[in-house]
Each structure stands twice: as structure tokens, then as C-alpha cells.
Symmetry: C2
Subunit: 197 residues, 2 copies
């Protein structure tokens, strides 16, 4: 499995630690970042994982970036791509090459609050239930078939920080569960619905 | 409190039974329907509650319907209007006269799946968490400030009936809670956010 990240990589950490369990059924073989200084990338390097920095300045334009990314992934026989705070929209070549094999985690109960700053959107709307969603990535923005969701209660005194923190804790449990289901062959796509065997 | 309904009135039943508790803090003084044959209306009449049937054919056009409705409500000094499966969009006159005093229950976690057939929309989208929402009614369609929400898990084998049934059970608990909070003066509107004292 490859993990793509742009920031601190706390979901990468959760996935990496889960992968170490003897019954996890998967291994992280590559960490890719579009941000040279991403703490998640530095952490992966410390651990001794294979890492790749793809420079968006050098690989100007989405197609060149995508081509290079696919090359790196195919070279390592990656079966699944996990987007863990990857702040770049994946190019069509990647999405099509890895159709049904890319998972993203989003800090809201999709289809509510897609895109950036989902937690702030949720607070501004005034919902009482938010949460997180693991979904397959398709060509849209946060529109792919949903694998797992976890509800997180919004509290009266919540601000963006406190809500994000509680949702993040839920993310760290949810993402590894989804990855295990994928590698166990237990996810069954029927139209837009993902059934769990 | 007045309850407006168009169908079986299962939420009316839940509210009516809750209102009978000595500590409920509210009473149902009127049940209004736009459907002469609504089982909820017949049930209210059996119980001996004050009921009104507003004929949409006779009161053709939204303004006439609204005028008559406001008259009936004001005549009984109604403090709160609860929409319990009322299939008609309230006219501007009603919404403005009773601003902040109309509650609706919707069978989804708004802002996801507004409008009709919310449970079917949720199943077709493939979400894993749906639920129900009690919200204040504003001029939009299911857009008003949210008072309470309850998450209901969507199961792999769910169809529209089974999901609707489980959401309905949650509705029957959620709506009376919201009404009690309203009559206890514990709902505090701050912008779009409803804080609970």
C-alpha cells in the first residue's frame, strides 16, 4: 500500500502502526508527498520506509505529476493508494489506473460538507452530528462510493480545533478498519453502494 | 402547540403521548391537516383534540391557505407549530408570523438529503450513517437552524422500508426532546447555531 500525504501525516501514522499488527493483512511500501517539508514524509523517512517527494514545481501540470506518480506506484506493485491529507486533486491518469483501489478519508459525513475546511463548514451550518468518511476516489471531489462512516457529535462549546481533534481520533480508528476490509477482499461494490462481506 | 400533518401522524402520536407526562411542559391544542382522510387527523379527533381540516382545493393558492392557517393558530394562542409529516410547503405569511416557533422533523442528517424521499436518497447515495433532524423552519426547503440530530446506522441489507422504520423510531424519541427544550426556554439561536442551555 502507498500513502499520499501533504502534512503532518497523523492518518499515515495510524495506518502504519496498524500495519505492524501481525493480522493486519497489509504493509506500507511507499509514502509519497507533494510537500518536501511535510512532517509525515520526514517521519516515514525516519522509520526507514521508502519515500518519494514529487515536486509540483518541476512536474508542472497535472499530467506530468500523474505520470510520475503512476510510475512510482507501479514500480512497487502497489495494490492500494491511501490519501491521508493529500492536498492535491489526483489526475485522471492515476484515478483511472487505480480505479477501485484508491481510498480517501474526509472529515465530515459525506455528502455533507465536501471540499476544504469540512469541520468549519459543519460548525457554520450548525449541525449536531458530523463525523468522518472513508470512500473510494472517483473523478469527482469527495463523491466516490462510501466504505465506512463514523458519526461524531458536535458539542455546543466546540470550535474548529476541538471538533477537528475529536473527528481526527475517529479517523485514526476508521481508516485502518477500511484498509483491512479492502485487503481481506471484503468490500463489494454494487453501483454506488459498498457492501461489506 | 399545534401539530400539522398530512398522513398517518406517527410523530403526532409520539408528541401527544409525551405531552401527557406531567413534566412535559406542553400541550397539543390543535391538529391541522390538508388531507381530510389523514389517519393522524382521525386519530386526533378520536382522542378529542381540536382538529381543523384546511381544504387545499377550496383555499386555492398558497396565500389563502396561509391566511386561514394563521387565523386558526392565533385563535388558539399557539406558541409552537410542529410539522409532523406535513407535505405542504408553509406559506411565507405563516413562516414570518411564527419565525423561530416552527419545528420540522426530517428523516436524514441535514444538510444531506433534503426534500422528498430522504431515506431512498440516502440508500442510493450509499451512506453508512443517516438519521433524523429536528430544525426550525425558515423560508427555504429543510434549510433552517438545526435543533437536534440523531445518527442511525445504514445496514448492508437495508431497503427503503427497513431504514425508514429505524429512522422513524429515532424520530419518535427526538421530536419530543426538541419540543421540551423549546418550551423550557432552553433553545438559544446564535446565527445558524442552536445552543442548548
Amino acid at each position: 500500500m502507498a500513502v499520499l500525504l501533504s502534512g503532518r501525516g497523523s492518518n499515515f501514522n495510524a495506518l502504519y502502526h496498524d500495519s505492524l499488527a501481525s493480522d493486519s493483512g497489509y504493509r506500507v511500501v511507499l509514502v509519497v508527498s507533494d510537500n518536501k517539508a511535510a512532517p509525515g514524509l520526514l517521519r516515514a523517512r525516519e522509520i526507514g520506509l521508502d519515500t518519494v517527494f514529487l515536486d509540483p514545481e518541476l512536474l508542472s501540470g497535472c499530467p506530468a505529476f500523474s505520470r510520475q506518480l503512476v510510475k512510482e506506484l507501479q514500480f512497487r506493485n502497489v495494490d492500494l493508494i491511501c490519501l491521508a491529507g493529500f492536498m492535491r486533486i489526483l489526475g485522471r491518469q492515476v484515478v483511472d489506473t487505480y480505479a477501485g483501489r484508491i481510498l480517501n478519508i474526509h472529515p465530515a459525513l459525506l455528502p455533507a460538507f465536501p471540499g476544504l475546511n469540512a469541520q468549519r463548514q459543519a460548525l457554520e451550518y450548525g449541525v449536531k452530528c458530523s463525523g468522518c468518511t472513508v470512500h473510494f476516489v472517483d473523478r469527482g471531489m469527495d463523491t466516490g462510493p462510501i466504505v465506512l462512516q463514523q458519526c461524531v457529535e458536535v458539542l455546543d462549546h466546540d470550535n474548529e480545533d476541538s471538533l477537528s481533534r475529536r473527528i481526527l481520533e475517529a479517523e485514526h480508528r476508521l481508516f485502518p478498519r477500511a484498509v483491512r476490509l479492502f485487503f481481506a477482499g471484503n468490500l463489494c461494490l454494487e453501483g454506488r453502494r459498498v457492501r461489506i462481506k
